[in-house]
Amino acid sequence: MTIRLYRALVALLLPQGFNDAFGEELVFVYAELDREARRRGGTAEAVRALVGEIPGLVRLAIRERRTHRTRRAHRVTPRLEENMFDSIGQDASFAIRSLRRSVGFTIVAVGTLALGIGANTAIFSVVNSVLLSPLKLHDPDRLLAVGEDSKAATTLSVKSTSPASFFDWKISSQTMDLGAYDAGYNRTLTGMGEPQQMVGTQVVGGLMDVLGVRPMIGRNLTVTDENPGAPPVFVISFDAWHRLFGENRDVIGKTLTLNGVARTLVGVMPAGFTFPAAPNDLWFPGQLDAASRANRDQYFLTVVGRLHTGASLQRARVEMNAVMDRLTRDWPKYNQGNRIVVEPLRDTIVGSVQSRLLVLMGAVVFVLLITCANIGNLLVARAAARRREIAVRRALGAGTGRISRQLITESLLLAVAGGIAGIAIGKGFLKLLLAGQVTTNLPRVEEIALDGRVLMFTLAVSLIVGLLFGCMPAWHLTRERFTDGLREGARGGARHQWTRNTLVVVEVALAMVLLAGAGLLLRSFALMERVDTGVKPDQVATFSIIKRKPDPTFVPALLERIRGIPGVQSVAITSMMPMSGRGIGAWFNRIDRPLPDNVQPTGEAYRVVTPEYFATVGIPLTAGRMFDANDRREAPAIIVNEALVKKYYPNEKPLGKPVYLGAPDNRLFDSAPIVGIVGDTRDVGLGSDPLPTVYIPIAVMRNWPFYSLVIRHSGSSAPIIASARRIVRDIDPTIPITNVQTLSEIVSNATGAARWSTTLVGVFAGVALVTAILGVFGLLSYTVTQRARELGIRIALGASSGGVQSLVLSRGLALVGAGLAAGLVGALVLTRFMQSLLYGVTPTDPVTFAGVSALLMLTATAASVIPARRATRIDPIIALRAE
């Protein structure tokens, strides 16, 4: 493919004489270079090599043609002797000369194209890696996500399930092999320098075989490793292997201390395997005992299936429905109202960002289209200005085809130059996106790269773009008699004007659609920023620690000493930071009003905290009391938030009412009264409603293993964190400190995804607006120049300057109005696809639409005023004499 392309380029660009002597050899040598590049780095490297050849080839072509021509000038060449390639080559060299003559035009055209193509290249790199390329797992199209969801849920989501349900599914399924995992199984590694936090995943049911991944060294985890009592083993990721052992292959059988337990390393996984999400350092076999295997109320397993050969997604779904019907009969208490959801695994991984990325891709495509329309307009204007030249060439015998080809060659050259510059710009832009942490919260971010496919995409886009705007002036020629050009002088005809008007209308319409989209995103972002988070995030430092070994003195000692750091106002512990997700949940049961036997209770989020938590993060108490030292395991009490009150106690007084969390036979505590009600926090995102939440004192959940500390302080957070770090190390040097950040950072992360897509779409819309307005301005200025004689006559006959001005202005506004109307219709149709990204506004929000329309109209009017005023200053004498 690349070689054929190179051969075509050589034939196209280089003159016959050179090709006769060296052409074949040149291609032959290139073929060897191509082979070498492929050996080095596959198709991507070959494409890079081809791109690298182009500048040299173009230079060679220019030089050879120049010498060729001077030599040929001395002899007469009969027309028939020229071959097709020769005339194409002639076109190219003529195009280069013609573009070099108008440097300004060329720079502007190539520059704007490069920006447009560069933005497309960068965003496409992201879309390509995240959405388009298959998951880097064996035969990924057969992998499915299997999960449970409530029958009542309106939008499908694949949720985790309980161990007993998972094993039931696994035994019952004839269409899939099933495995499961529990992510976030993090472990502290000690005995290898500083204690380190390792990200781990527990796998169940032979997940590694389901995924079809083979270890690079050693053996895989198997189902037998999952038997309770089997020797504790684990496998390690390539990155962790590199980090801990410097890629020493002699590590199998080594013992590592993880959370104080010695485990044997049995395998190293291949590079790039980070399932379920990057980073992941370790995988453990989940050794569930009989009681855990029979558990039906703890939902912590995420299930993955691999379709058998010959089975279909549809069959798997039908099968799982039947399985669920049976389970509902057997275990009504647990399965009533639920169903099993089966979706392609890829969809569940990228699902959340799909619409965001597609909106961005749409935005950059629009920007590129507007750029094309603008350059097309410039080219039409150029063609109009060159009518006389072209007419003369036709009169001397050049056919329409020959001249069209000439014009298309010119635009193709522009587009390819823009494309090459665009790759460089795209590369920089992508680097900026990745560095600016714009892509945080994006799945598969580690896979994002500008690869061969992206380069092919850019090349294709450039060629399409070139043909698109190159055809515009060429199309005109075919519809014109050449004598027109000679007769009318240098002025453009009515048809040119018509095309140019249409192009400007299209530009304005496209810009309008983009502006509407950006406006909607901006408005929802502004609304979201104004949402009360429920916490007071300023001057709160946070970090996490893990303490697996139960130690009743640890927490009080730690809090006591941190409280003593100068500048600390209050300190508390929580099982889960606010604003960072739902966290663990358990069934919420009212003891005073039990549910009927066949109704399954709903799981609600709970957080384990120390008494000072609410004061430290700034959650207000609205009724009852805070926790105190008397709330212990023996006399538990809970606090709930307002969302929970609204859901479970509408029109009731919840204070004092007894509840328990968990299943009847597996309770977190037997019974506890609600002693306080606190304000809501937006834990699952500012755009979502607050979750009903239960707060439990840490004294009730004595052996809770991992905590986050929240410290409200005065002054800067750095010295506070440093002192706290010293204190933790002092109490127990094996405890790692992770996730050091301020509460403000956590809050701003919560809006991160919305912020970056809003910013990018906003920037693209701004570029679109400027480009479209430049289009309007350019067209009007051109019109004024073209109609100078007519306007001059009008002025000579006594037209007022206001009259002339409004003549030009009304023309501009008519164009903008038409574009605006078309854009409004387009926007109303297209913004519907943004629904999932919006918060607090509808896709047809009248305020936004009115606002951006006004913005567009205003800027367009401003751009029209300048040429309109210039029209009034036309001197009739000069205008008339100019002919």
């Binding site: 050179f18 002597a21 060296f22 074949e24 050899e25 040149l26 291609v27 032959f28 040598v29 290139y30 060897e32 270079l33 690298g52 050849e53 040299g56 080839l57 230079r59 060679l60 030089r63 050879e64």
Partner: protein, 115 residues
Amino acid sequence: MTDRSAAAPPLSTQVFQILLSLVDQDLHGYAIIQDVAERTGNEVRLTASTLYAAVKRLLDQGLLEEVRSRARDDDPRRRYYRLTPVGRKAARDEALRLERLAAMARAKRLLPTSR
């Protein structure tokens, strides 16, 4: 053909490297690219078109000639090139010129005085 006097303009890096490759052996196009890359540690990487742009010019100027004889089992599309005496002199002139430049730099203590 052209006489390269002492006042001949300096050769470009790429041209000089091509001549240098052919000083002690006759090579075909791809081998020249490889030899240059190897000797310069990939610092000078010729593309096919830059190579042939230079080869054509060097042939025109009489610094190179094509070798007609070749091994029988070699690919017939391969052509071998050889330095002409003029080419050898041009390469030596360039090397001397570079040496003079280095000497000047040494005299100014820009480079350490070697040997």
